[in-house]
């Protein structure tokens, strides 16, 4: 075997604390190494060209590059050696940057360590065998979980790209949190006006199958061949017959049903349609509060329904969809702010969340757009906004910034002045985060044109003053004095967390998530919409705090990834999968029992039972190889011999 070794300087990143020339020189003494060099930037064009040239000139049949982490540039260099005619698996990397040069200044130790890592890579490479990916056909169909703005955008882009879309939304209507907003910053556009048309497009798009009031039950399979079980929850209304006329909602006697869509700011009926522009505009019965379903007597809506769409006996239904790719756009929920007992812990009716305030501001809200105090229905003259309630606060386990609260508070302050000209708004803040286009100018308008008082400080307590108002005790750190404000209404900018059930969904998708339930992207800077599971993409706040423009952008980005994936008719399977040596297998069945993906089955060969790997299902974890006592099943590119070679390169006393 003829191996070429390339020790990258990476400018000074490696060369600074590792003597690359010395490592190259040492590498020449390693087994089968016939060429060693230490280029300045291996990943750059000239660097890659040098590798290709060396392959031809020295008739190399294996390359080791000692540079950065393989997680970053292994694909790059594999393509390089492939261009030069080698099989891309006849290539190994030694990580002498993140694991050596960047974590210590001791040049002698770093050089020695780098040389050893190169030796390990060489020993592994000498046992590598060429692997060729197999191709398998894919279902060109995408599942999008979550019908918020990000999910809608991804669905529309995919559908426009000719890919059939299955959009699953847990609530009875798509629109997500954006549908609940009155106006949007920085243009103070009416949210329903800019979102509504997109929702209608989703409803009318021939390529989109919408499952509203439905949840993902189970996901199996792998990129290109996912099989998804969807649970269509019982709406107790036959949507094929319901025209959305709303007759049932008028007559329904259960008037005190909590209205989840309006964030519990007002009552609604047991059977209702969330809001006028709802898509699909179909009625849903809240089983817990419907007298017929809970106590067995009423049936008013069945009587009044002109099309007889009410069906009290309806049950959940499981539907299976075969898709090739999945986009998770499950959005967010507000964290449970009642942990703050100093703000009353939910006891005071006039201390509300920003989302509840949006419903009060919204014309389709319970107050028809008039700002009225939930306690006594009076118009508030002094409104206090408190920022970072459950954001940037380690004590409640929410150290991160939720990203868009500073901006919507400024908008709400503007709207408050707009609705109630003689009102005065105060905003308690720590730092105003207004990074977007025209964002800072918008907050300046809230201060200069609309007279909002921004007080830099936190609020220590809110309590009713007994005369119908609330005393908001805080501090003004710029003046260095405590501050007390009598407020008629207090609006909390409550921090966000991943939507409820996000972590369970992540486990079904087999993607990682952090301790707050936000899904883990493949690379925080370079692959924000991809995950570590091939074929599963992310869009919107489910991946982390971001505002509407960023969510929409990610919706389109995820759609682009899906379209790119389906651009090819066939997908290449990752050749790093397990293979069984039929001669050695004694059919003890341990590998079949422990494979997490059920990727191994028992077959008959010459009268004896043998194990066999289903190539398209095997994910290449190698669990079977560690379980098989006699090494009959070996994970390609991570075989026992290859790993033993690395161990022996280090421990041969």
């Amino acid at each position: 075997m003829r191996i070429g070794v390339f020790i990258c300087h990476c400018g000074s990143n490696i060369g600074g604390t590792v003597d690359c020339a010395r490592v190259a020189e040492l590498s020449r003494a390693f087994p089968d190494v016939v060429y060693a060099d230490d280029p300045m930037y291996t990943c750059a064009e000239p660097g890659q060209a040098a590798i290709e040239a060396a392959i031809h000139e020295h008739r190399l049949d294996g390359v080791v590059v000692a540079s950065c982490t393989p997680r970053m540039h292994e694909p790059t260099f594999r393509r390089t050696v492939e261009r030069a005619g080698l099989n891309r698996y006849m290539f190994e990397m030694a990580n002498i940057r993140e694991h050596v040069s960047w974590i210590g200044k001791d040049k002698e130790a770093n050089t020695n360590k780098a040389a050893e890592l190169v030796l390990m890579a060489v020993e592994k490479l000498r046992r590598n065998t060429p692997l060729t990916p197999k191709s398998f056909d894919i279902t060109k169909k995408v599942l999008i979980i979550g019908g918020g703005v990000a999910g809608i955008q991804a669905a529309l882009d995919c559908a426009d790209g000719g890919v059939p879309v299955v959009l699953v939304e847990r609530e009875a209507t798509i629109g997500g949190k954006m549908a609940k907003l009155d106006k949007t910053f920085p243009t103070v556009d009416c949210s329903a006006c800019i979102l509504g048309p997109k929702m209608v497009d989703v409803a009318q798009h021939p390529n989109i199958t919408l499952y509203a009031y439905a949840e993902v039950e189970d996901i199996s399979g792998y990129v290109g061949n996912f099989s998804v079980k969807i649970r269509k929850k019982a709406a107790y209304v036959d949507w094929s017959k319901c025209t959305g006329c709303g007759a049932c909602t008028e007559k329904c006697p259960a008037r005190k049903t909590p209205d989840a869509f309006n964030e519990l700011t007002g009552p609604t009926t047991a059977i209702n349609i969330a809001f006028p522009q709802a898509i699909p505009k179909k009625a849903v019965i809240n089983a817990a509060h419907c007298r017929q379903l809970s106590k067995g007597k009423c049936g008013v809506c069945a009587k009044v329904c002109p099309t007889g769409a009410i069906r009290y006996d309806m049950e959940d239904e499981i539907v299976t969809e075969e898709v090739g790719s999945i986009v998770a756009a499950t959005g967010y929920d507000l964290m449970d702010w009642t942990v703050y007992s100093e703000y009353g812990g939910g006891k005071y009716p006039d201390v509300i969340t920003s989302l509840q305030y949006e419903r009060l501001l919204s014309a389709s809200g319970p107050t028809g757009g008039h700002i009225l105090r939930p306690s006594d229905g009076r118009e508030p003259k002094s409104v206090v906004f408190i920022q970072c309630v459950g954001s940037r606060d380690k004590s409640v386990g929410r150290p991160y910034c939720s990203g868009f609260c500073c901006m919507y508070t400024a908008k709400q302050a503007v709207l408050t002045k707009d609705h109630i000209p003689d009102s005065q708004s105060w905003v308690f803040y720590m730092d105003i985060r207004a990074p977007g286009k025209m964002y800072d100018e918008f907050t300046r308008r809230a201060v200069e044109e609309y007279g909002t008082e921004y007080i830099r400080g936190r609020v220590s307590a809110i309590y009713p003053d007994g005369k119908g108002q609330y005393v908001v005790m805080g501090v003004d750190t710029l003046l260095g004095q405590p501050v007390e404000i009598k407020a008629d209404l207090v609006v909390l900018a409550v921090g966000i967390e991943a939507s409820k059930g996000a972590s369970q969904l992540a486990e079904k998708l087999r993607i990682s998530y952090d301790q707050y339930g936000f899904f883990m992207e493949s690379h925080v800077k370079l692959k924000p919409v991809e995950t570590n599971t091939a074929g599963v993409f992310l869009a919107g706040v489910c991946q982390g705090a971001k505002d509407i423009p960023a969510s929409v952008a990610q919706g389109s980005a995820a759609a682009a990834k899906v379209l790119a994936l389906f651009a090819r008719d066939k997908l290449e399977s990752d050749p790093q999968i397990a293979q069984v040596d039929m001669r050695r297998c004694v059919n003890c069945g341990k590998c079949i029992r422990c494979c997490p993906f059920g990727a191994i089955k028992e077959v008959e060969m010459r009268g004896e039972g043998k194990a066999q790997v289903i190539e398209t299902v095997c994910q290449g974890c190698g669990l079977c190889t560690a379980t098989c006592p006699q090494g009959a099943i070996q994970l390609s590119h991570a075989t026992d011999n290859q790993i033993l070679a690395e161990v022996n390169a280090l421990c041969q006393c």
Partner: protein, 355 residues
């Protein structure tokens, strides 16, 4: 009249010290304390306790070690042109002169059995030859037979001199040392031990008594033809080997099994270099006959047992005229399921008789 010397029981360490002079390795039976005690041959040093009991492991180690470095090799790369790799071989160091002390006649006869294929065949094995020529064998004659011994069935006996240089017989108060070969005489001459001629008759009595204590031996002269005839009778072999676990105990503890395996270990580039090893092989393991394609002519344990027994009682006698089994009984006493080679041979004789 061969040279006779006499050594008292407590004079033995002195005699051993004499033998161990000028770097000669003296292998003595040493008892290894354990729940199941075993006796193995180990180099003797001053003050090391030893026993004269029959060893669990035969002294074959002296001429055919379990694992022997035939030679070691070192590779070096030319810094100017890393593609050119030079290779130097290093001969294994010459084996030290060795004395096997207090082995039994069946062990000594083992050396004789090994000599034929390794020395008297068309090619003499150099490593074996070097070890064999540096070897002196002092054999302690058996005072009696034992339940698993059957040396007198196969041409040996409790005091058979075959393969020994000095024959040692215990009499009360000490041991009579009778030189059998010139090498034995040289060894005894240099030992400054008193002459033992007058006590020699007592030694001969002891030896005669040992022979008398033996059960009468069946006549095995037809065994080779009978076993050869049974080659195709696989049911016979299956019945004989129902309980066999096909491990390697019988072959590795046999003084006359001489099959070996050659493997290269190590790369040669690391400072330790590489080594070519010759190690014992075991015909009872299926690996012995597995071909590269995975096909195995002798996959079943019955066939493998057929090969083992037929080799000792048919093929070897055909080639060399005498059985290659010494009747030491170790393959019986060390077998986890006490498979009895005597029973197989007798069954073969009986089966052949009525065929």
């Amino acid at each position: 009249m061969s040279m006779i010397r006499f050594v008292t029981a407590d004079g033995l360490p002195g005699f051993l010290a004499h033998l161990a002079k000028d770097g000669q390795r003296v292998l003595v039976p040493v008892e290894k304390p354990a729940n199941k005690p075993s006796v193995v041959f180990e180099p003797w040093q001053e003050g090391k306790a030893f026993t004269l009991a029959k060893a669990t492991v035969p002294p074959k180690e002296a001429v055919l070690p379990q694992c022997e470095t035939l030679f070691s090799f070192k590779k070096a790369k030319d810094p100017a042109d890393p593609a050119r790799v030079s290779l130097q071989l290093e001969e294994a160091p010459p084996p030290p002169p060795t004395v096997v002390f207090a082995c039994r006649p069946c062990d000594a006869r083992g050396f004789a059995v090994l000599d034929r294929p390794y020395l008297h065949g068309p090619f003499a094995d150099p490593c074996y030859k070097a070890r064999r020529e540096a070897l002196t064998v002092i054999t302690l004659t058996c005072a009696s037979g034992c339940n698993t011994c059957f040396c007198h069935w196969v041409g040996g006996g409790p005091s058979s001199p075959e393969g020994s240089d000095v024959l040692m017989t215990a009499i009360e108060g000490g041991y009579v040392l009778q030189a059998i070969t010139p090498r034995g005489e040289a060894c005894l001459a240099a030992s400054a031990l008193p002459d033992g001629a007058e006590v020699f008759p007592r030694a001969e009595e002891a030896r005669k008594a040992a022979w008398q204590s033996l059960e009468p031996a069946p006549d095995l002269k037809d065994a080779p033809q009978r076993l050869a005839a049974l080659f195709t009778d696989t049911t016979f072999w299956q019945e004989q080997t129902d309980r066999c676990l096909s491990c390697g105990a019988c072959t590795y503890f046999c003084p006359t099994c001489y099959c070996f395996n050659i493997t290269d270990e190590g790369e040669g580039l690391s400072e330790k270099g590489g080594r070519r090893l010759r190690s014992w092989d075991n015909c009872m393991s299926s690996l012995f006959t597995r071909e590269a394609s995975g096909h195995n002519p002798r996959n079943a344990k019955a066939l493998r047992m057929r090969n083992r027994v037929s080799h000792k009682f048919a093929t070897y006698p055909e080639n060399w005229g005498s059985f290659s089994c010494n009747g030491c009984g170790r393959c019986i006493s060390n077998c986890p399921v006490c498979l009895d080679i005597r029973a197989i041979v007798l069954a073969a004789l009986e089966k052949g008789a009525d065929a």
